[in-house]
Amino acid sequence: MTSELLTTILQIMEWKMDRFEDRPKIKKKVFNVLVECLQNLYHHIDENMDDLNTEQNEMNSLFMIAKSEGDYTITTGNYMKLTEVGSLKEKLDLINGMSKDELKEFYKQVLNEGTMSEKGTAGLGMIDIARKSGQELEYEFTPINDNLTFFNLSVRIEE
């Protein structure tokens, strides 16, 4: 996942949505969630590339978007170190346990008090995805070997 590939996918998706989606509100939500999901992949792979122990195939990632009866599901997947699973799972469960108002407060707190990494990440991606989708974030960790797992995230956008 490079910056150029990301731009291309977004352009294709936007073009398709312009043609096949006539609800501007849904179109915007889908585009917003797409940006955050794809940029999560981008940053994750970018970090892995800095680590010389990363095997080439660990940088592969998955992206799917499905439309069914007007609802969209965006699925992304990437390999990650087993050691990173705990903190991500904790964050996702925390987010999933929050009401709409709690998510809003949490977002504002992280926005105001959090710091930005050199890579330009602000720790807000998952919170934003959950707010925009308004649904629970579905996820799965599939163990690959002693130190790798495959992380799957599915985000639903309903009217």
Partner: protein, 127 residues
């Protein structure tokens, strides 16, 4: 001082900062993977403008999309303007959002809650 004009791109907004008018406009989309680099010249321009600002400064935010990387940079920009507001210019923020775009309206409310600047929420048909 010179004005700051940047043409918008697939991932960055059009920037139009005019020191003689005291108007700062961001328009379009702000979705770069790393926003820090893009926003740095904007922060620098505001620092320079702070030296001799107009009596009133109007900030027009007309964004169609922005990502979470940008949201932090936009907050920092508002924080810079918040400091400026205590000095010799009255800063006002106009937050534009498209009809039915509750997410963008809510994003404006989030900033309004954090930042001590007058915000006006302006609903338009199309940005």
């Amino acid at each position: 001082m010179e004005n700051l004009k940047l043409e918008g791109s697939a991932k960055t907004p059009t920037v139009n900062f005019d020191s003689s008018k005291g108007t700062l406009e961001l328009k379009g989309r702000s979705i770069p993977e790393n926003s820090i680099e893009f926003y740095k010249p904007l922060n620098d321009w505001i620092d320079a403008y702070a030296g001799s600002p107009q009596s009133s400064t109007v900030v027009d935010i007309k964004l169609e999309y922005f990502n979470t990387s940008s949201s932090k940079c936009i907050l920092d920009l508002f924080k810079q303007l918040e400091k400026l507001n205590e000095k010799n210019t009255q800063v006002k923020v106009n937050w534009y959002f498209e009809e039915d775009d509750e997410d963008m309206a809510e994003a404006g409310e989030d900033y309004q809650a954090i930042i001590d600047l007058p915000f006006e929420m302006i609903e338009v048909e199309e940005i």
